[in-house]
């Protein structure tokens, strides 16, 4: 067969990190020896390969070899100005060529997202026949390649990053996965959107907040923190779970509400030339923590707790709305979609300047929380 390649000769790539061009020490030394070619040092790609030696010897234990247990992955960085060329340049440094049909995640640093339009940066990924569209796209605070490091041996950071995204039912601060497939539509519709952000420190990674990408420039214009990201989940009604913590007004004691269901309805209202919105949020969940052990769990008390949670959610929603409407002027919460569905004709006229229209619209919101269960503590 013409196109057959032995699997032993392929370097399986699971993750790629894209950073602003900054050559690594190894690269610099290679360059001093004359190992370079004409290029601008715009971007640095870090390929994460599976370390076949370590991966094969998963259960060997004891660490007989000199340097102890090995990492399950190898990261190789290469700097240049074309993603494809950087990839082929890696083949000059590694006997196993880059083989990316199993690429799971692309991490882009905030620096890159600020500087380059994301559609240009990802064109090679969209065009390539090896890379699947199911690949996840994340943004990273600081260096993106740091998100591809782990302190623990035996685990591959790419899978950690993917796995974190699957915890949606436990925490409402995770955005729905933005895969290349979903990104294509976003990029061509011209609407602003969010990328899940990760932070990394000392070989630990955490999903934290989101990067706001402007729909027109396709560049990053700011970040949302965890708290604000949660607000987006509430507005979109996309949450599958999570916790709302608050303090009971009367007793100042901590209480926690476990979300079972979020339902939200964004209602666009058009009056003449004025566009406004009303967001109606409903939620059901359980009381899972209540430090106020003095009061009886009666209807009056439950009502008070519900109001407390409602106020907390309103605070969350209000804060993020203020930020995306006034600071970023970017509709990343899906108001455009509800408007498009309700007023398809009007949408054609406003869609080109939507972020502007959105930032001037009046938005009201109401929250209705129902506590359905109180856990296994009956009376207090």
């Amino acid at each position: 067969c013409w196109s057959s390649r032995e699997i032993e000769d392929l370097g399986l790539t699971f993750a790629i990190a894209i950073d602003k061009g900054k050559e690594t020490n190894t690269e610099k030394e290679l360059k001093e020896e004359g190992g370079s070619y004409p290029k601008k040092d715009n971007i640095t790609l870090t390929y994460q390969f599976v370390n076949e030696k370590a991966a094969g010897a998963g259960t060997s234990g004891g660490g007989g070899s000199g340097q102890g247990a090995q990492k399950a992955y190898i990261n190789i960085s290469e700097t240049g100005d074309s993603l494809q060329q950087i990839g082929s340049e890696v083949a000059l440094r590694r006997d196993r060529e880059v083989f990316s049909p199993h690429l799971k995640v692309v991490v882009m640093s905030e620096d890159v997202l600020h500087t380059f339009p994301i559609d240009e940066m990802l064109d090679q990924f969209f065009r390539d026949n090896e890379i699947r569209l199911s690949c996840l796209v994340l943004s990273a605070k600081g260096e993106a390649r740091d998100a591809l490091q782990l302190k623990e041996n035996g685990e591959i950071p790419a899978f950690r990053l993917i796995g974190l995204g699957e915890n949606e039912h436990k925490v409402s601060r995770i955005l729905p996965p933005m895969t290349l497939a979903k990104l294509i539509g976003k990029l061509h519709s011209g609407s602003s959107f969010l990328l899940q952000n990760v932070v990394a420190a000392n070989g630990a990674v955490k999903y934290s907040g989101a990067a706001v990408i402007n729909g027109k420039s396709k560049k990053m214009i700011g970040t949302l923190n965890e708290y604000e990201t949660e607000g987006i989940t509430w507005i979109r009604g996309e949450g599958k779970g999570g916790v709302v913590k608050s303090h009971d007004k009367k007793s100042q004691q901590t209480l926690a509400y476990d979300i079972n269901k979020i339902k939200s309805r964004i209602q666009p209202i058009v009056k003449g030339k004025d566009i406004s919105f009303h967001v109606d949020i409903e939620s059901e969940g359980d009381l899972v923590e209540n430090w106020n052990t003095k009061e009886a769990l009666d209807t009056q008390f439950i009502d008070r707790l519900e109001t407390t949670i409602e106020n907390e959610v309103k605070k969350i929603v209000g804060q993020v709305l203020k930020k995306i409407q006034h600071d970023y002027k970017a509709d990343v919460a899906g108001f455009d979609e509800s408007f498009r569905l309700t007023y398809p004709h009007l949408w054609k006229r406003v869609k080109n300047n939507w972020d502007d229209t959105f930032s001037k619209a009046d938005i009201t919101y109401s929250v209705n929380v129902t506590i359905t269960h109180f856990g296994t503590v009956k009376t207090q």
Binding site: C1, W2, S3, F126, N129, R132, L133, S134, T179, L180, A181, K182, I184, G185, K186, L187, H188, S189, E337, R340, L341, P344, H345, K348
Partner: protein, 363 residues
């Protein structure tokens, strides 16, 4: 063996229609239609396109029923005279050759890009051509039997993988229904005709049917099945990739399968399954066009069928190698489908009218 002695049943005729119709469109239709509609209503266009295809097929079937046991190449002389009949037959032959070459080329493009990168395209095309030749030498009956095997595999795999893509399906991508009115939908109908060029096969097929009176039934059921296939494809692809996304992708149908993974199942990825059934369907379409063209040459020029088949082989090869790049391939496809629209849309009605008029004259 070309004389219609080997008869096919109505079910076989239906399956031939389905396999002939299902082809390149599964992978490209969502884009070509949405480019025109610019709205999520492409699936309605497909539905209307299907209805038009049924009507066209019915007219051709009615025409063919007037001349039992004769293919178009034979009966055209009764309607418009020998020379004009030959001329139209040659147009038909050219059309079948061009369509066959297009299907072969698309197959080689996809196989080269997604499956066998590095394999020279002549190697892929040759294989297809020779196997195609082998499968048509014995006439329509073996073809029908081959199709009877391909068909259930296609249905089962297609429905299964379409269902699996539900995980990335977003209903809002398909809404609002008819938000821009009916006009975009109608624009989309025009582009569906490459996927629905099928009815012309009735010019030939009816002559081989055991019960020619069931021809209309075969057209309706066959086209109905294909229409639902295409509608499912449209809905799933747009639901996953959105209108804006679909128009930017060369092979949106395949992209749908590349957009999700299902960990935990025996297979995580399903694009190879789609490619398997899709290659089978392209092959099916190709051998029918190959057969129809060879039959035409043989009947028009009174030559031995087998030599016609061998003679047309290099012609198809050269035609399929003519487009220089992907864009040329799609231009070839568009041209073929536009020609089909004119010759198979308008001509049959005309011929049917003349034929009825002549028959009345004879009485």
């Amino acid at each position: 063996m070309f004389s219609p002695t080997s008869k096919i049943t109505t079910a076989q005729a239906t399956i031939i229609i389905i396999n002939y119709m299902l082809a390149a469109g599964v992978l490209t239709l969502p884009r070509t239609v949405t480019e025109q509609t610019q709205s999520p209503d492409g699936w309605i266009s497909v539905l209307l396109g299907g209805v038009l295809a049924v009507i066209a097929g019915m007219i051709i079937a009615k025409l063919s029923q007037q001349y039992p046991k004769e293919t178009f190449y034979e009966y055209s002389r009764h309607i418009v005279g020998k020379w004009l009949g030959h001329l139209i037959s040659i147009v038909f032959i050219t059309y079948f050759l061009a369509l066959g070459a297009f299907e072969v080329r698309v197959m080689s493009e996809i196989v080269d890009f997604f499956l066998l990168e590095g394999t020279p395209s002549w190697a892929i095309i040759m294989t297809v051509l020779w196997i195609g030749l082998y499968s048509i030498t014995q006439g329509l009956d073996p073809i029908a039997r081959l199709f009877e095997m391909i068909f259930p595999i296609t249905v089962i795999i297609f429905l299964t993988i379409a269902l699996m893509s539900l995980g990335i399906f977003e209903i809002n991508n398909l809404r609002p229904v008819l938000g821009d009115g009916i006009m975009p939908v109608l624009r989309g109908v025009k582009t569906t005709n490459l996927s629905f060029t099928c009815s012309e096969i009735m010019f030939i097929l009816v002559a081989f049917m055991k019960k020619p009176k069931n021809a209309v039934k075969a057209v309706v059921i066959g086209t109905g099945v294909v229409t639902s296939f295409y509608m499912i494809t449209m809905i799933m692809v747009i639901g996953a990739l959105s209108v804006e996304g679909v128009v930017t992708r060369t092979w949106p149908g395949l992209d749908l399968m590349r957009s999700f993974e299902i960990p935990g199942l025996i297979f995580e990825r399903f694009e190879s399954f789609l490619l398997v059934i899709w290659i089978m369907q392209l092959f099916a379409t190709f051998i029918i066009t190959f057969y129809a063209a060879s039959l035409g040459v043989s009947q028009v020029f009174k030559k031995k069928p087998l030599s016609c088949m061998f003679g047309l082989l290099p012609v198809i090869y050269i035609l399929s190698c003519m487009p220089k790049n992907e864009n040329d391939v799609f231009i070839l496809g568009d041209t073929v489908s536009h020609i089909a629209l004119y010759i198979f849309g308008a001509l049959p009605i005309l011929l049917l009218v003349i034929s009825k008029w002549r028959k009345r004259g004879e009485k």
